[in-house]
């Protein structure tokens, strides 16, 4: 995400100082050859063919074409499908386009419920993950032994597939023999049906996902903590601030860029989380309380073959993604601290 920030910065530079960048572009090393040409037209043409634009093409044109077709072409096509009434196994018909599917989707109780669950997952998961990640990073930053080993183990869940971790957590949450019920049993609680009870299933899902993603937050925060000069820790101590106040007043505010990047990544993940839920519930249909837009969309498409309807849900999901990413880019674009 830090790279994204620099990208926005170069966008800024390009937008604000158009003249400067033009100069740089024509100065890009080929002017020596270009100026040799005698006629004006010929030199322009020659400059064009020997320009860095043309010469750089072999490097980016093929990947650009692949992305153009499979990413942007697919999104465009998805939008067109969402305007049709395409269902079943026959081919789609594109002669009757309207927004009927969006009306249907936005008024369907299942979509509204799934949207609510998506928001709950998005907020709950992101907040808990950030807090846990920050806590672990602060602990690891206090000059502990075996730091490298601990970091490796804390980040390990992130290297596992959601299908793998879904299987693990299904066993962890097992009603009769699961370790989670054995643990809460120590306090005289339970046993609970974590995966089957609609009231608590979302909490269980969030807990498991925090297990998998907090290592990522830890890595992001640890890098940011390492970037804070040591004399700031020293100065806060000389001022007599308690450790708690020192972190809250001096250190945490400086972690804002890291927090913003991590939040965006976590929110984007929460929007598209599908694989973990598929593995945990053993199929397209999660328990009622954990059905989010991402699972609803895939179920409508690949179990029920309601292609147009599911495409409309997919576009809604896509717009929500833009809703997360756009404020972030705007914040980066506006912020002068970049």
């Amino acid at each position: 995400m830090s790279v994204l920030r620099s990208l926005v910065r170069s966008l800024r530079r390009n937008g604000h100082g158009r003249d400067d960048s033009d100069e740089v572009a024509t100065d890009g090393g080929t002017t020596v050859e270009g100026e040799v040409g005698s006629g004006h037209t010929r030199s322009t043409l020659q400059r064009y063919w020997t320009s860095d634009f043309v010469r750089s093409m072999p490097y980016w044109l093929i990947p650009f074409a692949v992305i153009g077709l499979f990413v942007y072409g697919a999104i465009g096509w998805n939008f067109v499908i969402s305007l049709t009434d395409y269902t079943g196994f026959a081919a789609a018909e594109y002669n009757d386009l309207d927004f009927e599917m969006y009306v249907e989707a936005l008024t369907a109780p299942e979509v509204i419920a799934a949207g609510r669950n998506t928001l709950a997952l998005l907020i709950g998961f992101t907040l808990v993950c950030l807090v846990v990640g920050l806590g672990v990073a602060v602990l690891l930053d206090r000059k502990v032994r075996f730091e490298g080993t601990l970091r490796t183990i804390y980040l390990l869940p992130m290297a596992l597939s959601f299908i793998v971790t879904g299987q693990f957590w299904l066993w962890m949450y097992n009603v009769n023999n699961g370790i989670v019920n054995a643990f809460v049993g120590l306090f005289g609680l339970g046993p609970y049906n974590w995966v089957g009870n609609p009231d608590i299933v979302l909490g269980a899902v969030i807990f498991a996902l925090v297990w998998q993603f907090s290592g990522y937050c830890m890595v992001v925060y640890l890098a940011a903590l390492r970037g804070i000069p040591n004399d700031q820790f020293e100065a806060a101590r000389v001022d007599g601030a308690s450790t708690w106040r020192m972190y809250w007043r001096v250190i945490v505010p400086q972690l804002k860029p890291a927090t913003v990047s991590a939040t965006v990544v976590l929110m984007l993940f929460a929007l598209k989380a599908f694989s973990f839920l598929y593995a945990l519930f053993g199929g397209y249909r999660p328990t009622k309380g954990a059905d989010i837009l991402a699972t609803l969309m895939v179920r409508q498409a690949f179990q029920l073959q309601r292609w147009a309807y599911s495409s409309a849900i997919a576009i809604i999901l896509f717009v929500m993604t833009l809703g997360v990413i756009a404020p972030y880019l705007y914040y980066q674009y506006k912020g002068d601290h970049l």
């Binding site: 990208l7 750089s56 499979f70 000059k143 390990l156 299908i163 971790t165 599908f274 498409a301």
Partner: protein, 307 residues
């Protein structure tokens, strides 16, 4: 102040004090607690996978099985079921990983180190691809591969040749799709690395008359080696672990083209309830390649996720 000086100055500030400080003991207790938290699901899975059906019910989930409750039968069954999927996954993951790295490197070079007007616009289209939820594209992509460009059918003359098999067409579809969705992040990673290369050096080479191609092969490519490691490690784990494309492009877990995650998702669902030892063994087998890669190259992986 050098890094070493910073370290010593820091030890006073970030560390409460030396010796038997109750805070230090609390700190280590918390770290061990976290260790247990992060390892518990994996440890439980491992010991459960080694238990007989009887031992699963009788013993606590995190306790290793006794001699009478120990069996490798689940591992044998799981391996039997998954080998096919692991071969398939390797067949599309390895080429897709390598292609992602190559395309990512060249694209980042053409869009970062070679200066031309409007490159930032093209670059934004590359980078934005990272944030696209797969849900927004899987309907068209599955329609594309099944109704319009069915590689199994289109390449049918090839399947008569030795070694090649018809389901490789589906694997090729998976590979191409994964490449398309891997290029954006690979480009971003390479770009972040290329921005640290000194422009004076490239400028000097250019003034010496080195062409765009020559600069890439002589200067940029040798300097990209660490980033190639990061991208290869990261993409390998991402593509191996991916599930949604496998689910939607491969017809079912019984298909000859089923990937390892697809077979794993449906394993152990016997009529007599869920066979947990089998599921745990299968989950661990499916995770072995990524765990190995991760443990050997933690730093590269961490750099991949951080960016």
């Amino acid at each position: 102040m050098t890094a070493a000086d910073a370290g010593t100055a820091d030890s006073g500030a970030r560390e409460a004090s030396d010796g038997f400080d109750p805070w230090r003991i609390g700190l280590y207790a918390a770290l061990v607690g976290l260790l247990l938290f992060y390892l518990a699901p994996i440890e439980t899975g491992l010991v459960t996978s080694l238990k007989t059906d009887g031992a699963v019910v009788e013993t606590l989930p995190y306790v290793p099985p006794g001699l009478d409750g120990f069996t490798l039968a689940s591992w044998a069954t799981a391996l039997d079921a998954l080998v096919r999927g692991m071969v398939n996954s390797l067949l599309f993951t390895i080429p897709a990983t390598i292609l992602c790295a190559i395309f990512g490197s060249t694209a980042a070079y053409g869009l970062t180190l070679v200066d031309w007007r409007g490159q930032i616009g093209v670059l934004v289209l590359f980078i934005a691809g990272i944030f696209i939820p797969y849900q927004a594209v899987i309907v068209p992509i599955s329609r594309f591969w099944s109704n319009y460009v069915d590689l199994v059918g289109l390449l049918s003359p090839l399947w008569g040749l030795p070694v090649l098999k018809p389901h490789w067409g589906t694997l090729l579809e998976l590979m191409i799709t994964h490449v398309a969705y891997g290029i954006p992040i690979a480009t971003l990673l390479f770009r972040s690395h290329y921005q640290t290369i000194s422009t004076e050096m490239l400028e000097a080479a250019r003034l010496d008359g080195a062409s765009v191609t020559k600069i890439y092969y002589r200067i940029v490519l040798p300097l990209s080696r660490p980033m190639f490691a990061v991208v290869l490690i990261f993409q390998f784990t991402q593509i191996w672990n991916e599930f949604l494309f496998s689910l939607t492009l491969v017809s079912s877990a019984s298909s000859p083209a089923a990937s390892v995650t697809l077979i794993l998702s449906g394993i152990g669902e016997a009529q007599s309830g869920l066979d947990f030892p089998l599921r745990m063994a299968a989950a661990l087998i499916a995770a072995i390649p990524t765990i190995l890669v991760y443990v050997l190259f933690t730093d590269e992986f961490a750099e991949g996720v951080r960016t």
